[in-house]
Amino acid sequence: MTDIETELRVRRIENGTVIDHITAGKALNVLKILGLPDSSHGVVSVLINSHGEYGKKDVVKIENRELKVKEVDRIALIAPNATINIIRNFNVTSKNKVHIPSFVEDVVECINPNCISNSDEPITSKFKVDTENACLKLRCFYCGRVISENIAEQLL
């Protein structure tokens, strides 16, 4: 690899957050959930189909911003195995798994076209998260409709 290739592929970050072990192919959804990239922060880099210990995965690196685990828990909806690494001075200072939250707000859009949350009302979408039977279900707080598949497609 040339220097520039190395730089592009595996550039280490000095300070910031690395979200590792994202389900392969879901990195762009992760950015969407976090509202990234935004204008106020440093470089965001994305590795898609990176080779990990357990097969392919995606990685997202965000420079100069330390995300809190709670802040990224919503990522668990589409990448339940993701880990959050906080980097300071090129060292990993903490490493945490994401947790599936019990309630999510303003992340997903209801699939029910007749749901009040899909009309022009001053409310945000809200879902109760049900993790029973190892299968993730989001139940709309307003209409009660359940989303269990293709959650990524419903991201706001």
């Binding site: 009302e121 001053p122 707080f141 307003y142 409709r145």
Partner: protein
């Protein structure tokens, strides 16, 4: 039991104790609902009736309930003539009306509308139907009818018709499962009750039997709850005719039933119950419509804190 200032949004939040409490209160309201006894329990209280889609029966029974208790009713009037037609949000409408009244009855075509309204109102919201969503007062009046005309404990009930899309039938089943009822589901296979609901209500204590023939089930039950099958559910009108004729009851159908069998229907009916049945002791659907009044009186009295 605390109902004062509570919203009534969906049956899902009701325990058996809460249901029994409301039905007990409704029973005390019956003489007033009949006009045999005067009451000023809700004198000075104002109820707003906001119907964003027409449902004359439900609206009238709420209005009757309020008036019989000495309260006043403020009707939004026709939606086309109001600011809603100009594009006002439901949230804004609720915030405005909230300042005028002591409670709001809401009927709205969007699912979840009552939940939204409850987030913007300080006064109690009573959900009178939101789209294909919840209609808790219908379920409560169905339960009241069963308790008054038959019995809730050890009940054997058959539900016939469109069990797939009929959400009021779904919430009735949820409520009946709290009483350990034996429920026979009668429907054409196209309109079967969804599996997830069946497994839910079994888990909650109901016993379920499924069939597609009224004749197979009717002789053994205490209550037969008929519902309408909508033509538009069937792409082929001939298929609809076949199904509609199968789920239709006449005097003939009733020849071997229990003498105490009660037949219920949320009304309006089309032709699923022969009018000749109306004069038999089995017919219970007009009484059922009346029972909406004492049940709604009880709810209004409870949420407005006039009774406990």
């Amino acid at each position: 039991m605390k109902f004062k200032e509570q919203h009534i949004i969906s049956m899902r939040e009701f325990s058996r104790e809460m249901i029994d409490h409301i039905l007990d209160a409704a029973e005390k309201m019956e003489p007033i609902a009949h006009g045999k006894q005067k009451s000023d329990l809700l004198a000075g209280k104002v109820l707003a009736v906001l119907f964003f889609e027409p449902s004359t029966r439900t609206r009238m029974s709420f209005e009757t309930a309020m008036l019989r208790l000495g309260g006043d009713v403020l009707n939004l009037g026709s939606v086309d003539a109001s600011s809603i037609a100009k594009g006002e949000t439901l949230a804004d409408t609720i915030r405005v009306v909230d300042g005028y009244v002591d409670a709001i009855v809401l009927r709205h075509p969007k699912e979840g509308a009552a939940q939204l309204a409850s987030e913007f109102a300080k006064v109690p919201i009573l959900n009178a139907g939101d789209g294909a969503g919840h209609h808790p007062t219908q379920t409560l009046l169905d339960l009241y009818t069963i308790r008054r005309e038959s019995h809730l404990d050890g009940l054997k009930i058959a539900l016939a018709g469109d069990l797939k899309y009929g959400r009021t039938v779904h919430s009735l089943c949820y409520a009946l499962s709290l009483y350990g009822a034996q429920i026979t589901l009668i429907s054409p296979k196209e309109l079967r009750m969804p599996d997830e609901i069946i497994s839910d209500i079994i888990a909650r204590g109901a016993k379920i039997i499924e069939t597609d023939s009224i004749e197979d089930a009717i002789n053994d039950v205490d209550v037969l709850y008929m519902t309408r099958i909508q033509k538009e559910r069937f792409p082929d009108p001939a298929e609809y005719q076949k199904v509609a004729n199968k789920l239709k009851i006449t005097i003939e159908t009733l020849k071997d039933v229990k003498p105490e069998l009660k037949i219920m229907h949320p009304l309006p009916r089309v032709n699923e119950i022969d009018t000749k049945i109306d004069d038999t002791p089995h017919a219970c659907y007009f009484k059922q419509a009346f029972y909406g009044v004492p049940v709604r009186m009880a709810l209004l009295g409870l949420v407005l804190g006039a009774i406990e």
